[in-house]
């Protein structure tokens, strides 16, 4: 899993893809251990109660589909797996420092 910051939301109609009911899409910036951007922003599937501004961890690859409840054979390559409330690195809490 990687750290990330959700920066936006998007709505996409995916009628042709069964198994994505209740899955929302959000725009996410992966972060490094200093809270700085790491790599390109990406679209992540979201079923947890998170939204723009939230610090999260997410998983990619095949595991992204496995992270979704119910039907797990869906074409998803990144899924938010948790809302990070505290990120203690080097004695600082990066979740509170608004990195």
């Amino acid at each position: 899993m990687y750290l990330g910051r959700i920066t936006g939301r998007l709505v996409a109609t995916t009628r042709t893809t069964p198994g994505l009911e209740g899955v929302r899409f959000q725009w996410l910036q992966p972060l490094d251990e200093k809270g700085k951007p790491m790599g390109r922003q990406l679209v992540a599937a979201v079923t947890l109660d998170v939204g723009p501004g939230d610090l999260v961890h997410f998983i990619d690859g095949r595991e992204a589909a496995l992270a979704l409840p119910g039907e797990t054979f869906v074409p998803i390559d990144a899924t938010v797996t948790g809302y990070v409330e505290q990120l203690a690195i080097g004695g600082r809490d990066l979740a509170r420092d608004e990195c």
Partner: protein, 102 residues
């Protein structure tokens, strides 16, 4: 598997069910000399590691699922061991009591 340095801890109250109650640590992949070699990521800790430890990390789904006994689990990165020492070319380059040795 990766060698990694534990650089922090994650507290995440809202998570996918698989991760409930599991301890998460931030790990930085490093080479045998301790130099960063990859993207820092979040790992499931199975051994009670803490910030500052040099650890062995599995970073592959199938092994992760076996470790957690979760055949459909969304798991990839799991800490599986403490690294006590690394020998390279006949020389000890890392010892957990003294850290990186040149």
């Amino acid at each position: 598997m990766l060698i990694a340095q534990v650089v922090g801890t994650v507290v995440a109250p809202v998570q996918i069910p698989l991760l409930e109650g599991r301890s998460l640590l931030v790990v930085r992949p490093v080479d045998p000399h301790g130099k960063p070699t990859g993207k820092t990521r979040v790992a499931i800790d199975r051994i009670g590691a803490g910030e500052g430890d040099r650890v062995l990390v599995i970073d592959e789904g199938n092994s992760g699922r076996q470790l957690l006994d979760a055949p459909q689990g969304a798991v990839k990165t799991v800490i599986v061991g403490f690294i006590d020492a690394i020998e390279l070319g006949g020389r000890i380059v890392f010892d957990h009591r003294r850290g990186d040795i040149g």
